[in-house]
Subunit: 461 residues, 2 copies
């Protein structure tokens, strides 16, 4: 028998919860009296169905069932009741009064509230806990849990692929929203005072500390700035800035010995098992992987890096009898696998990119006008893996055109690390009409350019 | 003639600058009178030489030359002078007095100061600008530029692959550090008051809003929370929280019509060309790519997702006459290329993962005890690409063991999307002794398990 979640309120947050449970195989009953609620729910579910399965290297379980229902009916027999109503305490009290009357005694009863404490929600003593997620709920794992008896909720959240953070003390805004609210308030001053635009503030975040925070957060990042002396050293260096006018938040705690000691001890417990060098490597590997992910999307810092790559890309080699150098690059750390070497799949990127160099040479490739209506698709690769390759290796690909006839192009790529032949690929491409996405002969000027390369190589064979 | 950078102060920031210029082909002269400066510089340069080239799909230019030099000598003939001394104004004034006397008239003169304004640095009027980077300087692109005539500096930073953010108004802490300082001060309260530990605060960041900020920043993220109504709608919803006790930063600007209008207009200029649906897709694609990058590193949210994947992974299929279902998964958006379909390289991941399912079945693979001293390396793949595959497609890999003899294992993998055979691969693996990293026969119990699979399939052929 599948588990059942009752979703009370289906805005962006509630709909995200619905998607999380549904795609984890739970049955979901949604209650939302607002006009258009079902259409909004459907839109979020579609986004979640598209993206959430992409996070996984394996198939998700079959979806549960989904119904819209009146509140009392929705919570009936539920294992988890999640309220995501607007941030008004009177409204939340009203919803919970009816929900608690109708929900099973052992159901987890949780509110998505951004700011209210469990005490406020319960009006004193009661079973409602805070389970505060982050938009988009269907992708980001964090759920802040506050209240009595959060262990059962935590176990369930782990099982549906989320990350429960159990917070021992009640405070308005919990943890994350307190941080967000502080930075938000400071950002409003920057805009109001004309120091920066909304876009400049976003760039200041995503080009700089954003990628740091995506993988380490604040304290572990700063610990590195302190070097081998741990967090106490960082505080000695940057503590004085607390008294400087660097923020509108001027109500700062005294950095006395007790606080320094508390932070240093907690930071040691968190990160002290790693040396500065190990933490540096971990941070740098993560940043390389994150920035490369953004390159693939052409977004944020990735856009900057793609533009820079273009400025460094040499012109394609002219036709000639020798194998053509079609690629020179370093093997990045995100291309390696559990054997500690470059994974078999990533060699394919070398052949793909080396092939693109030839396509650019004949007036096609990723950006050329020729690629508007036509492209080349790879249909056959025969790859030989000849020597292990590790992250950081500088490699070169040398390409021979074996055959270019009509819509067929056959190339042989050799990957060298130094003078070691480390892998090779014989690659067959077909010229494609991008309207029909079927093979078709290339334009005469493309065929002519290509034949110059092919002839230069055929003389050698 | 290569360009020359003078680096005054070679702590983490100065050394990062040295690496940026050096790896962009500039000659670099470093001045740092502190004991051990050269050793620290070398350590940072080594980290940069390892990681920075990994960001690029092409080779970086040859490194420039590197010398340690007295201050006057270091700035001689420099095109760019970068001071990264400790955050003491008197010290910076002293260094710049000597630097300005000896640097060429047309050199860019920039300080890495986290907080001082150009006016403070110049003691009134002068040519020193702020060029504030972010640690690790050799990976993160952001440089905040403040001061008179920053255009030349901006053009140079673009050329070395960084992202200059030109800020029109002077303010202590510029932009990013004001945001960081606010959140830092709030975080200190959370630790001091015992609400959260340093580790909990880091998890609250990196499991939640960190990945959002790495790709969109603050305002574009919140715009999405407002939906189709743009930023004004978000402010109507979340504006009241400014008055609530969600932060120690209680000195908040009045959210009057003028400020609402200013923010809404700036946000429209920044993001108004995209619909809510388009922004949602952009955000979700970026988050999928970022979270998957963290999975590959096994770090932060990626660790959570890997653990969840394990819980969803079915046991390997038992030996039997039919092809074995070795993988079921969805094609993620970061596997596609400029042709709008799955890139040829990423099929290799399917064969690699499908092969791992067989290895797990015979007691080896990524996590098994058998993998401690031995593994299987792929030495030959023959891949046929039969139909285009797009992001979001659910696929299945069916595997036949063609041959298992001694240290050789040959498999045939077929990838299906629905019942369409979309690609296939004949894969040859060799059993490897991980001590010598050379081929060797598998252990008898492994060979025996494998032969059961092979025999079940050979009866069918």
């Amino acid at each position: 028998m599948p588990l059942k979640a009752a979703i009370l309120g289906a805005g962006a947050i509630g709909a995200g919860w619905a998607a999380r449970f549904l795609l984890a195989g739970w049955d979901v009953a949604v209650h939302d009296p607002a006009p258009g609620a079902e259409a909004r729910l459907t839109a979020t579910l579609e986004a979640a169905r598209r993206s959430l399965p992409m996070l996984s290297e394996v198939a998700l379980p079959p979806e549960g069932s989904l119904v819209m229902a009146p509140l009392a009916k929705a919570v009936e027999g539920a294992d988890w009741v999640q309220e995501s109503a607007p941030e008004r305490l009177d409204l939340k009290h009203e919803i919970w009064a009816e929900a608690l009357k109708n929900a099973p005694q052992n159901a987890v009863c949780a509110s998505s509230t951004s700011g209210f404490t469990p005490t406020a929600l319960n009006g004193g003593k009661g079973r409602i806990i805070v389970a505060h997620p982050f938009n988009p709920v269907y992708l980001l794992p964090l759920v802040e849990l506050v209240g009595q008896n959060t262990a059962k909720a935590a176990a369930t959240l782990h099982r549906i692929g989320m990350y429960p953070l159990e917070i021992a003390s009640e405070i308005d805004g919990h943890i994350a929203d307190r941080l967000l609210e502080s930075v938000w308030r400071e950002a409003l001053w920057l805009v109001k005072d004309g120091v920066a635009t909304t876009e400049q503030i976003d760039e200041a975040i995503r080009m700089g500390f954003g990628p740091r925070w995506a993988q380490m957060g604040l304290f572990e990042t700063y610990r590195l700035a302190g070097g081998d002396g741990g967090f106490a050293q960082f505080l000695a260096q940057f503590g004085p800035a607390l008294k400087w006018p660097w923020s509108h938040l001027t109500d700062v705690p005294d950095l006395d010995d007790a606080l320094v000691q508390k932070i240093a001890t907690q930071s040691d417990a968190q990160s002290g098992h790693l040396t500065t060098a190990e933490l540096t490597t971990q941070r740098d590997n993560n940043l390389v992987a994150l920035l490369r992910a953004l390159k693939q999307q052409g977004s944020a810092a990735g856009k900057v890096l793609n533009t820079h790559d273009k400025s460094l890309t040499p012109p394609p080699p002219p036709p000639g009898p020798e194998p053509l150098v079609t690629l020179r690059r370093t093997i990045p750390v995100d291309w390696t696998d559990y054997n500690g070497h470059m994974n078999e799949s990533r060699y394919g990127q070398l052949w793909s990119d080396a092939g693109d160099t030839i396509l650019v040479a004949i007036g096609m490739g990723p950006d050329s006008p020729g690629s508007q209506g036509a492209s080349w698709f790879t249909v056959d690769n025969h790859i030989k893996y000849l020597a292990e390759v590790h992250a950081g290796a500088a490699c070169e690909v040398r390409t021979t055109i074996l055959m270019a006839e009509g819509k067929k192009l056959r190339m042989h790529h050799e990957m060298y690390v130094g003078e070691t032949l480390s892998a090779s690929c014989t690659q067959l491409l077909l010229h494609i009409d991008m309207e029909t996405r079927r093979s078709a002969p290339p334009a005469p000027e493309v065929a002519e350019k290509l034949s110059k390369y092919a002839k230069a190589h055929s003389r050698q064979q």
